[in-house]
Subunit: 234 residues, 2 copies
C-alpha cells in the first residue's frame, strides 16, 4: 500500500492503528496522538456501530469500523480517556473487544483515564502505567503500579498522562515505531513548540488552591471510578 | 442558562462560540482550543449542511448547526486551518458567512492556516496576525502584517500559530474572556504541562535539514495558496 506522505513518514507501509471510541471520551485524548500518527497509519476508529459517538468536548465523531469488522492484529491499540471512562470500564462488549485485540496488538496504549479502561480489561496486570493526575487512585485500586511521568513505557505498554499529554505520547510512540527523524518532522509540521500561558498544568507546579478547586469538582467521578475498580479487583 | 461546570468556569452564562468546519481542516486546530473553551461556551460547529465533515486527520466530525441557522451575534468566531484551507479561501458561501458573522463577533479568531481564510474574507485588513510557520508568505501575499509569535492579539483579532498552538491560543482567549483563574483551572484539568520529546517544533529550534524536508514537501500547497492570495488582493 503506498503512502502519499512517504517523504515525511519514511515508509510506504502504514501501521494499523485502532482507537476505541466510546461515549463521552475526551476528544483531545485521541486527536493529539492521532495528529502525530495519522500520516504513518491506517486508522480504525472503532465502535460498536457506525453511529456518531459524542465526546465530552461538545461534538461527535464518526467511527470508521465496528468492533466486529476490526482485523485481529493491530500494530497499535489506543484507548482514550474522558468523563465516559467510568462507564467504559463496565461495558462488557468494549472490555471483551479490548481483551481480544489487546492480546495480539504490538503496542497496547492509553491516554489519560484510558488506562483505567485498559486496567478493567486486565491488560495492565504486572505493567506500570500513568494516567491523568486525578486518576492515580483508580489504577491503585486495581493494584496497578503507577508512575507519575508524562509518558510511561513498560515493554509494549505505553501510556500518556492527562489530555494534552497525548501529544507527547503520540510523538514518543512515533519515534519508537518509525525513528526519531520521522517524529521530529511531525513535531515540526504540528508546530509543537509549546508556550503555555501559565505555570498551571500540573498539581506539582500550580497554586494549591486551584488544585483543590479542581479536585473537589472532579472528586465524585474519581470516587465512582475507585468503587468500580475495587469491584473489578475482587 | 445554567452551566454544570460553574465551579470551574466561574460563570453560569456560556459564551457563544462558533467554529467553522470545512473539508480537510486539521482536527487539532479546533479540538485544542475547544478543549480549553467548551466548558465555558455554547459551541456551534458550523457548516453548510449537517453532513459529517472530513478532517485531514483521518476522521469526520458532525456539525451541530448550518450557516443558515447560526445566530447573528457570536462572542467568539474561530476558523481552523489545515490542508483544506486553500479551498476554503475560494469558497464563496463560506467567505460570505465569515464576512457576515465576522462583522459582529466580539472576537474574530483563527488557528494555523485559518488566518489565510480570515484574510480571504477581508477580516484581517489592517490587523496583525500569525499563522503556521509555513504559511507566512500567504498572509504577506494579501498584504497582511504578520507577527511570528505563538499567539497574536490585535484588538479583537486573536490568532494562533500552527496546529498545537491552538492549545496556547485557547487558554489565552479563555484568560481574556473569563480571567486567569478560569484559564489556570482548565490548564490543570487538561494537564497542560508539556514535555515535547524533541527540540523540533519550530524552524527556529530544529535541525535545518528537517525544516528543508518539510518545506519541500509542503511547498506546492503554499505556492497554491500564495497564488490564491494574490488573486484576492488584485
Amino acid at each position: 500500500m503506498s503512502n502519499q506522505y512517504e517523504a515525511i513518514v519514511g515508509s510506504d507501509q502504514p501501521l494499523a492503528l485502532g482507537i476505541i471510541l466510546y461515549p463521552f471520551m475526551t476528544a483531545l485524548d485521541f486527536v493529539g496522538p492521532l495528529t502525530a500518527l495519522s500520516m504513518s497509519c491506517t486508522t480504525y476508529l472503532l465502535s460498536k456501530t457506525l453511529d456518531p459517538v459524542a465526546t465530552d468536548t461538545g461534538f461527535s465523531v464518526v467511527p470508521t469500523m465496528t468492533y466486529a469488522d476490526c482485523p485481529q492484529h493491530l500494530d497499535i491499540l489506543l484507548v482514550p480517556g474522558g468523563f465516559g471512562s467510568n462507564a467504559a470500564m463496565q461495558d462488557p462488549e468494549l472490555i471483551d473487544f479490548l481483551k481480544s485485540r489487546g492480546a495480539t496488538a504490538d503496542y497496547v496504549t492509553s491516554v489519560c483515564s484510558g488506562s483505567t479502561v485498559l486496567g478493567a480489561a486486565g491488560l495492565l496486570k504486572d505493567y506500570k502505567s500513568t494516567t491523568h493526575w486525578a486518576y492515580f487512585p483508580v489504577l491503585k485500586a486495581m493494584g496497578i503500579e503507577t508512575a507519575s511521568e508524562r509518558v510511561v513505557t513498560d515493554r509494549n505498554r505505553i501510556s500518556g498522562g492527562g489530555v494534552t499529554a497525548g501529544i507527547d505520547f503520540g510523538l514518543s510512540v512515533l519515534a519508537k515505531v518509525r525513528g526519531e527523524d520521522v517524529a521530529k518532522r511531525m513535531q515540526l509540521i504540528m508546530e509543537y513548540d509549546p508556550q503555555p500561558p501559565f505555570q498551571a498544568g500540573h498539581p506539582n507546579s500550580t497554586e494549591p488552591r486551584l488544585t483543590e478547586q479542581v479536585t473537589q469538582w472532579i472528586n465524585p467521578l474519581i470516587q465512582e471510578a475507585v468503587t468500580i475498580a475495587e469491584g473489578i479487583q475482587r
